[in-house]
Symmetry: none
Subunit: 416 residues, 2 copies
């Protein structure tokens, strides 16, 4: 089995002020193609220490991926180290330089001269193109090891990894297959989920099940390893069937599905439109819905009604409702949804009102209390939720819970 | 200077499913007492690999802190490794056993027998008490190194670190202090920034400058080390002054400041209100603004006008404007801002319309082209931006650029 190691480079990671999300992302993507990470290291912006770390990594791993230190500034040292360590020379890559110029040109900026440095790459290296930034990925591929350096900016790292590096590595024959299937659930907490399923599951050797709670619910991740793709897929599928028998009603999708993509598909399949009215989420629900390219096909628009005045003036919530039940109430949520549906003449409307925190909580209406309203041609209703104490978590959970409510309603599933 | 290394132990950290928050927390606390972490490693639950990692760490660091693997179950291996590696025996710590029993007793639970294992500690070791869990911290302190193992559960790790380990280390005379200052900039790209400042900066020994680009702009992090707190602070301050002389106009804040907190403060200080009209960002700007607790004080609300119909019906954008200039144009952005300002009777309104991508781009209006409009009592205008190709990056950059536009306008700063 090939051993992989990830090295993340940058003082900011050692200072602990920036959380290292790159290493985890790379680990997930590598396991997706049957490669398992055995070591992770982080080193600061120091020539000696980066070199020492790379040397040590190549002693124990056949695949080493580094992130960071490929930028144009003085504290970007990775390329310097590569040239010395792998005994390469830096040569100008005309095509890359052109592309970088072009990118600045598109942004209406004259390319700063310093960026020419970005087009200098080690000879005898594999280039992994970066379409959204100026630091390309660099691969030093020898018979006995694969060494790959990627940019540190997460969006760029992910772009290069997903579009260039993973396809490249997937082509290599590392003689082992891993099938990863993720079931995506919403509306049930991890511990209840574990209680329901964990006991009676039959898990074959070579199969791992992980519970991954997130703001969009809980993902169940099945990692099946075998010596052939087919065997791995069969193992995974068997477990999927067992799980769905027990908790299938909470499963909204698989793998790369998201609640916004699944509900979006349902809306466009049924040629229906959606509007939103957001109080405590302040626009997050709309942002999540429109994170799907082409969502304009079914997303009419929304009102961010953060204040009570706006709830009245823009959504037609009755002053009496606000006075009698308060802004955070089922009654207000329903009127918000009805108002949004009417205003945007949409088929469906979702509304969110809650106590996001950290302040504003009372004994009667504690931080985390949230009402989500839904209005459609046939009916309007609101559901009460009690989320946690963290403001951003509450806002995200509320947004995804709203989408799940819509999904269940469109599919006529029972809402528990 | 003493070199510190952090080792986090656990398979879940290598799969990338669990984000490692312990390492960053420890690094921040150590730098707070003048200790700088130079290496971070993560290793899975394997006797051999844990021992190999510890051996390697002690070769290069005088202070090594590990987290994880101190629990009572079979996959908790750290103590086994310590005993072998440091040639210690496990001896029963009666007092600790009593405390563990007592803790269970208080919760009305009979202590599970498995927990007796927790009271077995290596001889000649320093105990760092854990008042909220049964796994105590273990210190192996010799003349030439400090080795400390802490539990992996973040709440317990933080408790033991803050109350036991940090005070212990602070008492040792390592003779150095660190001051970290972050300048937060928007409206200039990393490479241009580097060109302007890097050349002529006088950076004293013991001072490091890092460029940290993100969706909200570029952060400049200064880390100054000296033998006293005052000296470190002076060193950092000197560099801050130099940088601000050159690029102060791009600096919107320091350290924990964010564009949303800074602009929010400006609005409430001036008793002004803000409304938004969002097309391509679909609510993200509103979400960012309302991520600040108490933002209801100055945030009136917003319209998510994703479709042209809504731009017309909700914001009063003229059909002729849309036909003549298109939805992505300065003219439309301005009318969107004017519409939002009027609708919410706000002092300021921001609007965003752009081609977020991945589709929808043309030669004339490529992906990334974005217009941000601002309307106030005195004027209304729009500024053109050209962001990258990544949809989510564009949406985030546009939202922060809008806040920066507002900040500059309120402060009457020149808008370049």
């Amino acid at each position: 089995m090939i051993i992989a190691e990830i090295i993340t480079i940058g003082d900011e990671l050692l200072l602990g002020e920036t959380t290292d999300t790159n290493a985890g992302y790379i680990a997930r993507k590598l396991s997706g193609i049957g490669l398992s990470v055995q070591f992770k290291s982080t080193v600061g912006d120091s020539l000696e220490r980066i070199e020492e770390t790379i040397r040590h990594a190549l002693k124990r791993a056949q695949l080493v991926i580094t992130t960071g230190g490929l930028g144009p500034t003085d504290d970007d040292l990775t390329k310097k180290v590569l040239v010395k360590f792998f005994k390469r020379q830096l040569v100008l890559n005309e095509q890359l330089l052109e592309e970088i110029r072009e990118r600045y040109h598109r942004r209406g900026i004259e390319m700063p001269a310093i960026n020419e440095e970005q087009a200098l790459l080690p000879n005898n290296s594999t280039i992994f193109k970066n379409d959204i930034g100026s630091a390309a990925g660099i691969g030093i591929i020898e018979n006995d090891y694969y060494f790959i350096s990627l940019p540190g900016v997460p969006t760029e790292m992910r772009h290069v990894l997903d579009n260039e590096v993973i396809p490249f590595l997937a082509k290599q024959n590392f003689g082992q297959a891993i099938k990863i299937t993720t079931l995506r659930l919403n509306g049930i907490v991890e511990s209840s989920l574990a209680e329901i399923i964990s006991a009676e599951l039959e898990i074959e050797p070579g199969v791992k099940l992980a519970y991954l709670p997130s703001e969009s619910g809980v993902d169940l991740r099945i990692v099946a390893t075998a010596d052939s793709k087919e065997k791995a897929e069969n193992k995974a599928q068997k477990l999927v069937k067992q799980i769905e028998k027990k908790v299938g009603r909470f499963v909204y999708g698989y793998d790369s599905d998201s609640l916004q993509s699944v509900t979006g598909q349902l809306l466009s399949d049924n040629d229906k439109s959606l509007a939103v009215a957001e109080s405590c989420t302040g626009g997050k629900l709309g942002e999540i819905i429109t994170s799907v390219p082409g969502s304009s096909k079914y997303f009419a628009g929304g009102i961010i009604a953060y204040s009570n005045d706006v709830k009245v003036s823009e959504l037609g919530v009755k002053k009496t409702t606000l006075n009698k039940y308060g802004a955070v109430s089922a009654e207000t949520a329903i009127e918000m949804a009805l108002g949004a549906r009417k205003r945007f003449s949409a088929d469906f409307a979702l509304s969110i009102t809650g106590v996001a925190g950290p302040g504003g909580g009372t004994d009667e209406k504690p931080v985390g209390l949230t009402f989500i309203g839904l209005a459609s041609a046939h009916k309007s209703f609101a559901k009460e939720f009690n989320f946690g104490r963290d403001r951003e978590t509450n806002r995200a959970r509320a947004s995804y819970a709203a989408l799940e409510l819509l999904r269940k309603d469109i599919l006529d599933l029972e809402i528990e």
